[in-house]
Amino acid sequence: MKINEKIITKIEGEAKLKVYGEEIIDFVEIEFYNFRGIENYLVNRHYMDALVINPRVCGICGHSHLLATARAIEDAFNIKPSKKAQILREITTGLEIIQNHIKWFYITFMPEIIKDKSKMLKAISIASYASKIIALIAGQFPHNSYIIPGGVTCDLTNLEILKIEDMLKILKEQIIKEIIDESGYSKDLEIFFENVDKNIGKGINRFLVLGNNFYFKNNGELELVKEEKKNVFYDDKFFEVGPLSRNLENEVVKMIYKKYQDSVYSRVFARLYEMVLIIEYLLKIIKEIDICEENYIKHVPKNSKGVSVIEAPRGSLIHRIEIENEKIKKYDIIVPTQFNLSSYTKENPSPAQAALINERIENINIVFKCFDICSVCFTH
């Protein structure tokens, strides 16, 4: 059988695919071959240092890593931050998801078919508006450190909260006008799929949601997650994580899913439509902020273990920490890309492998990239 090697670029790095088969893909192995070793740096440092180092795993979803780190430490010390702090965290991580999805669709995915730089510019301007709102709360984006175990460092006034609410409304208008509307119609998405079959890239049809931040509801237990080298199993099977998995409860997404199953189209649609759902959710919770609550609750460190799981832009993100004498003894990160892009056998393929098998070789880029792969996260 003919074996091809293919390099996929523009996924914040590169991946190597070993493709078996000529016109139709018979089997595929996925390999990320760069290495940074972030977990090694953490050992023996003060536990608070993880808050500064971990966001540097990724420049696009670093804020989710920050939140996961803070929550893992909170779990270890048994701290519960105030509702106000939790809402502010939801707003900044929600906006991070929105800017990620915009950039992913217009900069990474769409140019596979449509090479139009004006669309890219439009996207960048909306995405940088979203990160401007994050900056109002967190100081800057990317790579801020305003989330700390026990709460947040910022102390917003009512005026600032009004301003943030106002900006969220403007952002929502822009998204609905320029990207995707509330009914789920997106001009750019339809243009993309004009000459692409909407049914390609069907995967394993098993969905997993582990985090329960935002409006998402988890459907799995953390104890059942197992990491073998870079492969991640749940209950000894592979599961797909990400926007399609966590939005299946929504009526509009469900309708698309019924029609196209877990195809490329459904995944891209869910990712775009999630922006509308998240911003509506943020506009709802910002009204519940009680400015008189504590920003931060003091904690006493002790020797302990903690774990956190959140829904990050690309799916469920898990952080585990072990603290001894205020120092990190062990740290472990499992990123969403590991769930989706594990590399295993033909009989038991990962979601991305299953989606690629039996597809035509010319569709390989589109099918692979529809998972919103982040190579820097994978090679952390």
Partner: protein, 377 residues
Amino acid sequence: MKEALMNTMRKRIEELRALPGVGEKSIKEVLEENGFTRRDFLKWSAALAMTLGLPASFAPVVAEAAEVSDRLPVVWLHLAECTGCSESLIRSDAPTIDDLIFNYINLQYHDTLMAAAGWQAEENYEEALKKFAGRFILCVEGGVPTKDGGEYLTIGAHAETGLEKLKRSADKAAAIIAVGTCSSFGGVQAAYPNPTGTVGISKVLNKPVINVPGCPPSAKNIVGTIVYYILFGALPAVDNFNRPKFAYGLRIHDLCERRGHFDAGEFVEQFGDTGAENGFCLYKVGCKGPYTFNNCSRERFNQHTSWPVQAGHGCIGCSEPDFWDAMAPYEEPLANHKFMSVNADAVADKVGLTLLTVAGVAIAAHAALSAIKNPKE
């Protein structure tokens, strides 16, 4: 003096004007198409002149220089990093003249931002290197792993190591700019125990490298350095870590909005206390502003919106060499822990530690003294 400077710039601009542009359209045309008036453009130029430390009367020349900037293409190379610096570049004023000029026209090759991918992308890169040899500005994002022949980072189908690709590209570049702390000093990859042997790019090149550190650096500093090169045909004045003085000439502490509280001995003792509510100085919860040279307190981030200290978290010192080791622990004052840190031995040979400690002791002494003297307590 001023006139001599102006003449140098004009001469440089004339030289550049004689070269062909790299895009299909001129910068003027693109700006007009995207609805920017001449006035907007001049305002932007004036702001940039200020960033570069030039008098306001230089704004028209800066504008002229920006108009011919499409003669000098920019090639962007990714090494071991997180793409945060590219993120930083595209968050500059939206939808922005910087964006238009640098992403739309000049940027001949950028892994993440360009439209091409795969084989085509590699071809584009080689073509840009060949076509613009000796003329392009090479921006490098990310540190370069050197251990085991650099095999921890390979790029493209031929598995060329980052080290080889960097050396090859740098040979043909007119100017080399290290964007971010990783490419300047190694960054987080080079933190103890540095498993991949990552170093800043200047360590492996034998050409001058301008460092624009920060994690991530502000978009204004990146764009400012590029425009400086276009304006003068030379690299800007730098400090002893090769950082442009216009951006890294002062400490964060010097222009910090909370500086008054430092001088008055008013500190946040722990996050969430009354001091934090009143916006007091963050030194005692780990702010490294007094040891860090950068312009964050003046320029801020995300279109001048805010910066970490405004959001109540201290500066982590991200534009200093080896800050990952030298500035840790990040949430405590440097002077408290320096000699007890487990990694102190590991970093003792690294640059700046002694200097930092001396300054640290003086500043800590002030913090302690002013707390005693504070009449409120």
